[in-house]
Amino acid sequence: MISRWAEGLTSEEATGTGPLVGVVALQGACLEHVRALRACGARVRPVRRPSDLEGLVGLVIPGGESTVIGRLMGETGLLGPVKEAATGRTGGAGGLAILGTCAGLVLLAKEIAGEPSWIVPGSQPRLGLMDIQANRNAFGRQRESFEADLSVPALGEEPVRAVFIRAPFIEGAGEGVEKLAWFGDKLVLARQGRFLACAFHPELTGDLRLHKWWLGLVETMSPNYER
């Protein structure tokens, strides 16, 4: 397929034994996550409507514009069902694991700083599942975007080449939030139970360690997962 957007939407759940995970495919860098997860052996499904959540044990909210993805998740009716699946309030065991990168981090946060001026504070559609405050565009504009070697002990000794694009960082994190990586004094990777928030873009570098690690978490954290 010539279009990298359309290919990110195609539903070719590869057969295999890996966990079945979804990538929210409404706007942003979907294809890159789909590819990285498939390369790790996962079965991957683009998620555009509530029925796409059926049977998933993990879900990625990709990078893109958080205002746009959040609003589209609201309008497609995804926001509620994802929240329910994540908190396990639905009939089944629940417990959807979620990885949010960049815009996805913003949507996972309970608090968001740097929302557009016209938004009533706190009213931006979001998942709000993690006890963190996300500061949007906190490193500056695009010319301040950067890549750097980042030490992420959870992923091993070798540093991660982390790509920050108009990235957010995590300002405040509540108890129960595991702080996994810092850039200088800024928290850029954090985990709270089944939820993982990442300020940078592991999907853009070809380094699969973070995706692999997350898939490992999915398997251990999700009661829905059957080996």
């Binding site: 397929m1 010539i2 279009s3 990298r4 957007w5 359309a6 990110g8 939407l9 495919a25 409404l26 706007q27 942003g28 860098a29 979907c30 294809l31 890159e32 990078g63 893109g64 514009e65 205002t67 746009v68 609003r71 589209l72 309008e75 960049c102 815009a103 740097g114 929302e115 557009p116 001026s117 016209w118 949007r136 565009n137 504009r141 695009q142 010319r143 301040e144 975007s145 950067f146 890549e147 750097a148 790509v163 920050f164 694009i165 108009r166 873009h201 853009l204 570098t205």
Partner: protein, 293 residues
């Protein structure tokens, strides 16, 4: 820590995929665009339809306006520089524009050379009518491409022509043996190494949006169906009867381009679209798409 790398520049375009980038001339319009769900705005002095009717020389927008637009919204703000005008580009970089459009909508400053975009930390998007033109711009450092169409016309025919041309040429590259690529490189004026990369990856090495004549939700869906990664809409929003509603409808049509039911719903009750122009009525010398090479 490295800034302005190829990954960082191309990466921002990846984050815009599936979205709509709207031309705006004031902070108020920028807010309307952001509220409607635009992934970015393009700050410029006049929309292409007004540039076309005003005539004269079209230049980079006033830095004061660009700053005010950047203050008004949180989404990325792009701005246009004239083809070859690397000092307008330097000024836009200094202002903090998130992407520079080296654009044929403005009057070219150099008829021989485009900007050497590798020298900038800020990424560039450039127009193209075919694969050769797209790859020449990428060779110069463009981190994103947009098929040109014919700006300010509200007529989607040229946008279709250019996207179809790029795609059919990519398919030709895929079918060609490697030994044929040097001939294609010569025929199209395309760098051989980039043709090789297209063959290996099966697509352009950068994100490609469609521009130039998109005026309705159906137009946006058509371009997405043809394989665009996203949509630029210029005059189509703010030269229409109801910019708020149309902007929103174009966003929804871009997201739901595969769903005729949604498209039928969002296409209705938008009021008059912008007035359209027959391409044949524009003198060949006045066609913006002919600018650049």
């Amino acid at each position: 820590m490295d800034q302005g790398t190829l990954t960082v520049k191309r990466g921002l375009a990846e984050m815009l995929k599936g979205g709509v980038i709207m031309d705006v001339t004031t902070p108020e319009q920028a807010v309307i665009a952001e509220r409607a769900g635009a992934v970015a705005v393009m700050a410029l002095e006049r929309v292409p339809a007004d540039i076309r009717s005003a005539g004269g020389v079209a230049r980079m927008a006033d830095p004061v306006i660009i700053r005010r637009i950047m203050e008004a919204v949180t989404i990325p703000v792009m701005a246009k520089a004239r083809i070859g005008h690397f000092m307008e580009a330097r000024i836009l970089e200094e202002l903090g524009a998130d992407y520079i459009d080296e654009s044929e909508v403005l009057t070219p400053a150099d008829e021989q050379y485009h900007i050497n975009k590798h020298e900038f930390a800020v990424p560039f998007v450039c127009g193209a009518r075919n694969l050769g033109e797209a790859l020449r711009r990428i060779a110069e450092g463009a981190a994103m491409v947009r098929t040109k169409g014919e700006p300010g016309t509200g007529n989607v025919v040229e946008a279709v022509r250019h996207l179809r041309a790029v795609n059919s040429e990519i398919r030709r590259v895929l079918a060609a043996g490697e030994e044929e690529l040097t001939s294609l490189a010569k025929e199209w004026g395309a760098p051989y190494e980039l043709l090789l990369l297209v063959k290996r990856e099966g697509r352009l090495p950068v994100v490609n949006f469609s521009a130039g004549g998109i005026a309705t939700p159906a137009d946006a869906a058509l371009m997405m169906q043809l394989g665009a990664d996203g949509i630029f809409i210029g005059s189509g929003v703010f030269k229409s009867a109801n910019p708020e509603a149309r902007a929103r409808a174009v966003v929804l049509a871009t997201t739901n381009y595969n769903d005729p039911k949604v498209l039928a719903e969002v296409s209705g009750g938008l009021g008059e679209a912008m007035p359209g122009l027959e391409i044949g009525s524009i003198a060949p010398g006045a066609r913006m798409q002919e600018r650049g090479w």
